[in-house]
């Protein structure tokens, strides 16, 4: 993301790289500096590109995938994921917190590993079954 210029009309132009396909369109979003509402999108070559630009500008979301420690499992680490994508700016903190979590095998696939009490909707689940060693 790069902030390019400030307009006199209180618009801000932000650049994004489209991830839809290898064309990698350079998207430009004009947004209101106060409300952050998208006024115009340029540089896309398909509908998905435009939608992506708006989503990425207003509420970028990411799926969290990392591992937690597992005792007595076939492997030392259990892969986990957020059930649904979470706000992008929460990813690092979630992963950091998950470093302190330990579970014990066996673990079922999809088992809930951690729920963020303060942030409704953030739920970390096992992305595989982990048999006991």
């Amino acid at each position: 993301m790069s902030v390019e210029e400030k307009h006199a009309t209180d618009l801000i132009t932000v650049g994004y790289l489209c991830i839809g396909c290898p064309l990698g369109c350079r998207l430009e979003v004009d947004a209101d500096t106060i409300t952050n509402a998208v006024v115009e999108v340029r540089g896309y070559s398909c509908r998905r590109g435009k939608d992506y630009a708006i989503q990425e500008h207003t509420a970028p979301m990411r799926l969290v995938t990392t591992t937690v420690a597992v005792d007595a499992g076939l492997w030392a680490r259990l892969p986990v994921r957020s059930r649904t994508p979470v706000p992008k700016d929460k990813v690092k903190a979630i992963c950091k917190h998950l470093r302190s979590i330990r579970v014990t095998a066996p673990v079922a696939s999809g088992a809930i590993i951690w729920v963020d009490d303060r942030e409704p909707g953030i739920e970390i689940v096992a992305s595989r079954a982990m048999p006991a060693r």
């Binding site: 991830i19 396909c21 990411r62 591992t67 892969p79 950091k96 079954a129």
Partner: protein, 430 residues
Amino acid sequence: MITAAPRHLRASYDVVIVGGGPAGLEAAVAARDNGAAHVLVVDRDQEAGGILLQCIHSGFGLHRFGEELTGPEYAQRVVASTLEHDIDVIADAYVLDIDERRRVKLMTTQAGVSLVEARAVVLAMGARERTRAAIRIPGTRPAGIFTAGLAQRLVNLYGLLPGRRAVILGSGDIGLIMARRLTLEGIEVAGVFEIMPYANGLNRNIVQCLHDFDIPLHLSTTVVEIRGQNRVEGVTVAPLDETLQPRLDRAWDIPCDTLLVSIGLIPENELSQQMRLRFDSATRGPVVSSAMECSRDGIFACGNVVHIHDLVDFVSAEAMVAGRSAGQYVAGTLPRPDNVQLQPGANVAYCVPHTISTEREHTVYLRARKPLDACTLQLTEPDGTPVYARKLRYVFPAEMVNLKLRPAILQNFHGSILRVNIVERATEGE
């Protein structure tokens, strides 16, 4: 993961499959569905599932399952499917050799070395990573140089961290994914360096693995020296000129204790070479027919052992063909041999399969040599006479092109060699 470890191995199987990754497992199911009663999958790791088990990120399965899965989730589905199909899966085992009579020399932890008869074989050993030596980076040989996949295994399966500050060479998807992975584990990534003037990974990974974490990507730049006696202490990087020679006058040093090398995969063909199959020097895998049959009767291959795929979904699709063919081979219902040879032409690095039949429908996978916008995929006779053309928005070496070939497309073609070209649209008429 539950694996179907058989209590007793049979002395003979209809189909023995070497490798229990997505390719092998999918082929097993297809073989079972197409007439093979007894199918054995041999996997060298402590459980079947393949490299997907360490690919904990998401992005798998959109084509195959219509939803986005993590690697372990994809693997789990494929393993579950083999269980439902009453297939013997033996993990922590190794195929040492396969002789002319398709006797499989198998090593298992239960029975040691034994010989198992196979009526058909599917090779699905996957790939290995290119190493530092493949590009001959000068310097010392300290600890702290890892291929990206090894680092991924250490971090994601063992919880072992490869260092504190890393430089990543290669902007393929594995390199990008590992940049994010290390960052999330608290390891500083000083930068990703790419020898080519363009990134080799998906834009999605550029954005979500690098931009999200402010990790710099340096294009047309490479590591020219590794320093450090016992452990990596730093690397020197330099930009490249047009002839890909490093500009040492513009080199700079980066202190780091880890170098991840992510410079591509090579089909893992130790066994196929022992078996003296015919090879394609471009794919570095065996030459295969449209049935995914190799140059020896009853030996089939699929997945990364044939050529490097960018999506596991396409591995699955190819494996279904190989497995089906193995089943048909055993049942004696394998269709007639191919009658057309595919020949890579302009801007085409390779085509798989290497031969096709004008009577059947095929998916041909091919890879462009260099990126092109707005281009045309052409099939021509060897003398240039056009047979078929399809417009493409772009081609990109890192993205495989899938070409669906139906008999109708080739109904006016009666030759035995089809050349495959990718040309710029402006030069199309020439």
